[in-house]
């Protein structure tokens, strides 16, 4: 499968997964704002291994969707339309998303 196709399917798949994550995100926001007990519950949630693993996975979806989206926006304004450039930027999206998540997990968690 060409790298553009992998990146494109990843963008779509990540989008659907992020859609499913919306209610989870709202639930966490609600809990964190409820009272200081809820806030601590959210902190405790992020200490859990399973939740942390899911969170990192969602961060990866977000990073991939975000970077692939920027690539599409650039192609819309006719930057990187040539096949060679498009293949190169597709690789760039896939790799940078992984790198970004590795950096996030160091900074945020």
């Amino acid at each position: 499968m060409p790298v553009n196709a992998v990146m494109s399917i990843g963008h779509r798949l990540a989008g659907v997964m992020l859609f499913l994550a919306i209610p989870v995100a709202i639930y966490i926001l609600e809990l964190s704002l409820q009272d200081s007990e809820g806030y601590q519950q959210v902190q405790a949630l992020f200490d859990g291994l399973l939740f942390r693993a899911i969170f990192i996975l969602i961060l990866w979806f977000l990073a991939h969707h975000f970077l692939a989206g920027i690539r599409y926006l650039l192609i819309d304004v006719e930057v990187g339309v040539e096949p060679a450039a498009a293949r190169k930027s597709a690789w760039w999206v896939i790799i940078s998303a992984v790198v970004a998540v590795l950096i996030f997990t160091q900074v945020l968690i």
């Binding site: 779509r12 989008g15 659907v16 992020l18 859609f19 919306i22 209610p23 709202i26 926001l29 609600e30 964190s32 704002l33 009272d35 200081s36 806030y39 601590q40 977000l62 975000f66 989206g69 920027i70 926006l73 819309d76 996030f104 900074v107 945020l108």
Partner: protein, 130 residues
């Protein structure tokens, strides 16, 4: 009825579903990009906040979210997110679900789900303001 026409730039004009009549084709394509840019900017600001000025207590977090500017932008963020998700999911459904009845059913469920989420998050964000 029931067939769709491929349009420029991957957006589709679909004539069979009432839900999508108001937002299809080039207009949906444009809104998808405008919301994407806004969401991206908001996420970057939130990332910077969480990286360099993350709240160290409940009160600090509550104060930040209750700040009128942050609160209004948060409401706009979720509105843009729901709109973005709707257009994106609708494109996915139109690509993979081919029967009219199924499309209408699936799109209705997704639409209701997204509206419920929007109402929920609006309530969460309004509540910290009062």
């Amino acid at each position: 009825m029931g067939d769709y026409f491929g349009c420029c730039c991957g957006a589709y004009i679909y004539a069979g579903v009432d839900l999508s009549r108001r937002l299809y084709g080039l207009r949906a394509w444009l809104w998808q990009r405008l919301s994407a840019v806004f969401l991206a900017l908001c996420l970057l600001v939130f990332l910077l906040y969480m990286s360099f000025n993350s709240p160290s207590s409940y009160q600090q977090w509550l104060d930040w979210v209750s700040n009128p500017v942050v609160n209004v932008i948060a409401v706009l963020f979720f509105f843009a997110l729901i709109l973005h998700a709707w257009i994106g999911l609708r494109d996915v459904v139109i690509d993979y679900v081919h029967s009219d009845a199924m499309r209408l059913g699936v799109l209705s469920l997704i639409g209701l789900f997204l509206l419920a989420n929007l109402a929920w998050v609006a309530r969460v964000l309004f509540r910290v303001m009062v």
